[in-house]
């Protein structure tokens, strides 16, 4: 049972374009929705996260859009750069407590110069 569904699996975007990755979750108890960025040979690192009490959060070129009623959230990367080429994972979980995060399967993003 996959509780977090992520799409697309891979994405190619031209430099300067907008990269969009989507996720959907099933468990309405989730209250923390982060995006992680992973470069080859490295561990995932937190990029940006959102709570369900807001519909959008922006940090620099990265924006999370959150739709609680649809149980969906997305990552937008504006003015995409070659350095953004990486694998991106959405996740969902509870902010507090011992429970870990449930991750999507990942999106391999390539930004072409």
């Amino acid at each position: 049972q996959q509780q977090v569904k992520q799409s697309p699996q891979s994405l190619i975007v031209q430099k300067g374009g907008i990269s969009i990755i989507n996720c959907a979750y099933e468990n309405t108890a989730f209250d923390y929705f982060p995006w992680y960025q992973q470069f080859p040979g490295k561990g995932p690192a937190l990029l940006i996260a959102i709570r369900p009490d807001v519909s959008e959060k922006k940090e620099g070129r990265f924006t999370i859009s959150f739709n609680k009623s649809a149980k969906q959230f997305s990552l937008h990367i504006m003015d995409s750069q070659p350095g953004d080429s990486a694998t991106y994972f959405c996740a969902a979980g509870s902010g507090g407590g011992a429970d870990g995060l449930t991750f999507g399967k990942g999106t391999h993003l390539i930004i072409q110069p």
Binding site: Q6, Q9, Y32, P34, Y36, G41, K42, G43, P44, A45, L46, A49, F89, A91, G93, S94, G95, G96, A98, D99, G100, L101, T102, F103, G104, K105, G106
Partner: protein
């Protein structure tokens, strides 16, 4: 960078042999996790710990055991490794004093079972 050290970083072993992966943290965080990463599957939780000697199973715990005798160390053991356990294993930690939900990951341990 979060103070997380995984060892070994790379290991090749044969089917049926025992393997232990170690995660060491210097952050004094309460919660520790073991995930495995496989192409097409993302990151899947194996086991986690909510304190010394307190552990629980995750989504893919079969064939794995864990131990946490000290706050800073979380061990993952494969009693008898199988080829299906070839994977990259990540340790993660979370600060139990803050309601942030953020996991900090180590650099990973790549295990190949022949």
């Amino acid at each position: 960078d979060a103070g997380i050290t995984q060892s070994p970083r790379h290991k090749v072993t044969e089917t049926g042999t025992p393997v232990t992966l170690r995660c060491h943290q210097t952050e004094n965080h309460r919660y520790m996790y073991w995930y495995r990463q496989d192409p097409g599957h993302g990151l899947r939780l194996i086991h986690y710990s909510y304190g010394v000697k307190d552990t629980d199973k995750g989504e893919v715990s079969d064939g794995y055991s864990v131990s946490r005798s000290k706050t800073e160390d979380f061990l993952l053991t494969l009693e008898s490794a199988t080829s299906s356990q070839t994977s990259v294993y990540f340790c993660a930690i979370k600060d139990g004093t803050k309601n942030t939900g953020e996991l900090f990951f180590g650099e990973g341990s790549r295990l190949t079972v022949l």
